[in-house]
């Protein structure tokens, strides 16, 4: 019995100094293949978002510039027309 007990104790001690087992190098690629595709597609990278925001700002800015220059051209035209009219009213001077 002592022999058996001693052997059992030795077996119980056999995990002393154990190192962790490591998975194969290919496992990560296998996992990536199994990941749901839709979750990955839902995410727009921040870098791309920045470009989209910059492009949108540029379009809005250009519209503002074009619109404001149109308004000032229209105002100049109207002012010139008014000047001519005022001059025309001075016929009897």
């Amino acid at each position: 019995m002592d022999k058996k007990l001693q052997w059992a104790d030795e077996v119980l001690e056999s995990l002393n100094g154990i190192q962790r087992a490591k998975p194969s190098n290919e496992l990560f690629d296998k996992i990536m293949l199994e990941l749901p595709k839709n979750k990955q597609n839902q995410i727009i990278p921040l870098k791309r978002l920045r470009w989209i925001a910059a492009a949108a700002c540029l379009v809005v800015g250009l519209n503002v510039v074009v619109f404001s220059s149109k308004i000032s051209t229209k105002q100049i035209t109207e002012n010139t027309e008014n000047y001519h009219l005022i001059n025309d009213y001075s016929l009897y001077e």
Binding site: L12, I18, Q19, A21, K22, P23, L27, I31, Q42
Partner: protein, 180 residues
């Protein structure tokens, strides 16, 4: 990192994988005792982490959460395969599996095959306490956190696990063979 993973960030997922792959795989192999199946469990654990990262509330440590997932998956796998062995006769048959953990030092290789052959005869909580403490080498407090129990309970579980393992080992002592 977990927040980034919940948003589908693959780079963050890769970093987490690098940090935890060995811990997950080694824990799984302690229960499953089969290289291919332990890899399947590891794969399953990381897919679950990717899909459920948004459910992580930060109440426990990330490592605790990951170990819990691993332990649950491994125990479920064992249940599915009906690996719970109760009779000594079955222990002797099961012993023939002859699993050698790749991390066991050379001089202990043969003895450890006997130990692994009887680990799955333990009840779930004793088995988890034993594997996390002796195969994975975690501190008792971390084992207690993973098992959501007290340090005292873990110590008691380990004591009972060792007593039970010793009884099983005595019952499979290789009579007539050269002492290994």
């Amino acid at each position: 990192m977990i927040k980034k993973i919940s948003e589908g960030n693959q780079e963050a997922f890769k970093q987490l994988y690098t940090l935890y792959k060995t811990k997950v795989y080694n824990t799984a192999i302690g229960y499953i005792q089969n290289i291919e199946e332990a890899e399947e469990i590891t794969q399953d654990v990381f897919i679950t982490i990717f899909n459920k990262a948004n459910t992580f509330k930060g109440k426990a440590k990330v490592s605790t959460w990951i170990y819990r997932i691993t332990v649950n998956k491994a125990l479920n796998q064992i249940k599915k395969q009906g690996r719970i062995i109760k009779l000594d006769k079955e222990v002797q048959d099961y012993h023939k599996i002859n699993f050698q953990h790749p991390g066991v030092i050379i001089e202990n290789k043969e003895k450890s095959t006997y130990l692994f052959s009887v680990i799955n005869t333990l009840i779930e909580n004793q088995k988890t306490a034993f594997i996390l403490s002796y195969v994975e080498g975690l501190p008792r407090q971390e084992v207690a956190d993973i098992m959501n129990t007290s340090l005292k309970s873990v110590e008691s579980l380990l004591q009972r696990a060792k007593t039970n393992l010793k009884k099983k080992l005595i019952s499979i002592y290789p009579e007539g063979n050269k002492k290994k």
